[in-house]
């Protein structure tokens, strides 16, 4: 059934279709309409599970960890400061091996206050061990939540997932979304059946004190299972395509890359803009490719390494600026594709932050800049801030 809806409503429909057992909700812009839609579904008796109002995102995540230990499928949604407040429990969910799925409506962190789309919140949680899936559009948001449960709950994975939709750009923008039939979803996504949960006949302790001689082994196990997750992500994407006719590339989607002269790596809603600009530029003979980073964690370094053989110049577009070595996506991609024998030149573009429009014109500027670098054979500067007012004088 095709309906016109926002990505936030698409997320709520996915939660309903996934027959989630326990939902914990706490409002924050631009996530709130997910919680509101779920509340409406709950009160109408349309949800399979129960809906709880908590007093903070920290408690939302805590509650879901408890519910997951009891054996329930769980969901919450948050943004920005809410995600930052959860930070401690994000680590907890991973260490506890609870396959919680959470929608993150990506938004900037204050100050100064800003409620709009930005990837700073999600990039700041990249080291927690959560799987992170970016979405390009509203349909993808619904589909990715269904896939995320299947990947997370796999007994060889047992890691939580963030499904990321860009604040306002997707969360509050209406698009046509195909809502799958419940029967089909039930067939794709069986009930949550964890190997370990609270059992009074086999009492165990979850998360107790571990001394230095064993703690590393728990981390190592998570690292190994992240590798398993990589394979499962691709498998589940293929299975989803067979069942529902839609695929998102699993880890990475290469678009217009086969004969490309340069390529741009990016994640989230801007991928759509990049694809369109790439198509238009190709009409004018400019062979520019787009690399959609569907999965940011686990990081698809092996897949991205192929770029070295595809193109001499790679751009990386960051919709956030974390104060490390260039933007977060840039430093990851550059490290990931590093080839001691040479490899592609890489440049970082930063823009579209805090809800600032990132237009096709901006995108074209990046592609033209990459083509120029290809021609000149060297990168002029590491980071280029796009469409930014000069920060040196008074505004």
């Amino acid at each position: 059934m095709i309906e016109v809806m926002t990505a936030n409503y698409a997320a709520a429909y996915a939660v309903k279709l996934a027959r989630v057992g326990v939902i914990a909700a706490y409002p924050i812009t631009p996530q709130s309409s997910i919680s509101e839609k779920l509340a409406e579904m709950y009160v109408k008796g349309e949800l399979h599970g129960k809906y709880f109002l908590v007093e903070s995102e920290h408690s939302a995540m805590s509650m879901l960890i408890g519910a997951s230990y009891a054996g329930a499928r769980t969901f919450t949604a948050t943004s920005s400061h809410g995600l930052a407040l959860m930070h401690e429990m994000l680590f907890w969910a991973v260490g506890a091996r609870r396959p919680i799925v959470m929608a993150v409506v990506a938004r900037a962190l204050a100050p100064p206050w800003n409620i709009w789309g930005d990837h700073m919140d999600v990039m700041s949680e990249r080291d927690t061990g959560w799987m992170q899936f970016f979405c390009e559009n509203n349909q993808e948001t619904l589909d990715t939540i269904l896939m995320a449960y299947k990947i997370s709950e796999n007994r060889s994975v047992m890691l939580p997932s963030m499904v990321i939709e860009d604040g306002f750009i997707l969360s509050h923008t209406y698009e046509a979304v195909d809502i799958p039939d419940q029967d089909e979803v039930d067939d794709f996504l069986p009930p949550f059946d964890p190997e370990w949960k609270i059992d009074f006949n086999d009492p165990r302790r979850f998360g107790g004190l571990t001394m230095p001689d064993w703690w590393s082994e728990f981390r190592y196990r998570i690292a190994l299972d992240q590798e398993v997750a990589r394979k499962k992500i691709v498998e589940v994407d293929k299975e989803f395509e067979r069942k529902f006719g839609r695929s998102y590339g699993g880890l990475v989607e290469f678009y217009n890359c086969d004969d490309a002269e340069v390529a741009l790596v990016l994640a989230g809603s801007a991928v759509g803009t990049a694809k369109e600009v790439s198509d238009k530029m190709r009409e004018r003979g400019k062979k520019v490719g787009v690399v959609k980073l569907k999965t940011f964690r686990p990081f698809p370094a092996e897949e991205l390494k192929k770029l070295n053989d595809m193109v001499p110049v790679v751009g990386v577009f960051d919709r956030s600026y974390t104060f490390g070595y260039g933007g977060a996506l840039y430093s990851e991609v550059r490290n990931g594709i590093y080839d001691p024998a040479g490899g592609a030149l890489v440049k970082n573009y930063v823009g579209g932050m805090g809800g600032k429009d990132f237009t096709p014109k901006n995108m074209e500027f990046i592609f033209e800049d990459l083509l120029r670098i290809k021609k000149e054979g060297k990168v002029d500067k590491m980071v280029e801030w796009i469409n930014i007012k000069d920060g040196t004088g008074r505004w």
Binding site: G21, V22, A24, G49, K50, F52, L53, V54, E55, S56, H58, S59, A60, S62, M63, L64, I65, G66, A67, S68, Y69, A70, G71, A72, E88, M89, W92, I198, D199, F200, P203, R204, R205, F206, G207, G208, L209, T210, M211, W214
Partner: protein, 301 residues
């Protein structure tokens, strides 16, 4: 014929030998009494603190019931989550217990607890009150009493000890609308178990405030742990009472309250107190006790 007294405490043990609590610690007693009252179908969720540490180091484990460890401030939220999971999966006849310390409750965990009471979460929340952050090395918490030395309220030149009164957690929760609250003391096991048995099947949030001595933290002889705990109630410093839907009642009548000096002088943490300070504490305890009696009177009219 000899009249053999009947056992009033269940014989079943759910706390195994081999836990790592200090000699004289009140916590293992509280754990034993709690589980004797609630039985096998009980899950504890325990945040950072001695409560988790004394159960042993992975893969060893000194309890016969499941335990979920959690972060410091989220006990009530995790407990309610477990209950929520049980409810949607139709797991019945199970007791979900939040087992937190005083700092983990009245300081860092207060927000989550307040929200759980707001939802009337169907959990038993047990606050192990040893009156400071003992696991981290005796730092002042919101439950540290006036006059006490701690490592963050040190004593120098007869000044500097803790000067803020204990947070009135029970009154906060009663104001919050909690259905059941009670104070219990490890020195009175029959009363302890009776309160839990009374509370366990009430639907909603139950709060149990346990006084449990910490021998290194209170600077007491492990042999005197129970004696000190008993004196806390006998002096009226830690009266035993319960609150059912806002109605207060004493659960242990103390006919002639002993002077607070008897309690204070057994503990190194109060050793620095001079006559004037002890008299001041006596005055505060008398006032607090009178307030309690008045609440009992007012809520039973």
């Amino acid at each position: 014929m000899v009249n053999i007294p009947k056992f009033t405490i269940p014989k079943e043990e759910y706390v195994c030998k081999g836990h790592s609590a200090c000699p004289g610690c009140g916590t293992p007693l509280a754990l034993r009494y709690t589980l004797k009252a609630l039985g096998k179908r009980t899950v504890l969720n325990i945040p950072a603190g001695c409560g988790g540490v004394i159960l042993g180091v992975w893969p060893s484990y000194a309890l016969k019931v499941p335990v979920v460890d959690n972060a410091f401030e989220c006990t009530a939220a995790v407990a309610d989550g477990i209950r929520a999971g049980f409810d949607v999966l139709s797991v019945e006849d199970a007791y979900v217990v939040g087992w937190a310390g005083d700092g983990g409750t009245v300081d860092i965990g207060l927000q989550a607890l307040s929200a759980a009471v707001d939802r009337n979460a169907n959990i038993i929340y047990i606050m192990l009150d040893n009156e400071a952050y003992m696991n981290t090395g005796i730092q002042k918490s919101g439950c540290t009493p006036i006059g006490a030395w701690t490592t963050t309220t040190p004593v120098a030149d007869e000044k500097g000890w803790n000067t803020s009164p204990k947070k009135r957690i029970m009154e906060m929760l009663v104001a919050n609308g909690i259905v059941y609250g009670a104070t219990v003391n490890v020195a009175f096991p029959e009363d302890f178990i009776a309160r839990l048995r009374e509370a366990k099947d009430i639907k909603g949030t139950k709060f149990i405030h346990v006084l449990a001595p910490c021998t290194p933290g209170w600077r007491i002889d492990p042999k005197k742990s129970i004696e000190v705990a008993r004196l806390a109630t006998q002096t009226g410093i830690f009266p035993l009472y319960k609150v059912e839907n806002g109605r207060y009642s004493l659960t242990k009548e103390i006919k002639n309250r002993k002077p607070v000096r008897d309690y204070l002088m057994l503990q190194g943490r109060f050793r620095h107190l001079k006559e004037e300070a002890i008299n001041q504490i006596q005055k505060i305890v008398d006032e607090e006790y009178a307030r309690l009696l008045k609440k009992i009177k007012d809520t039973n009219e």
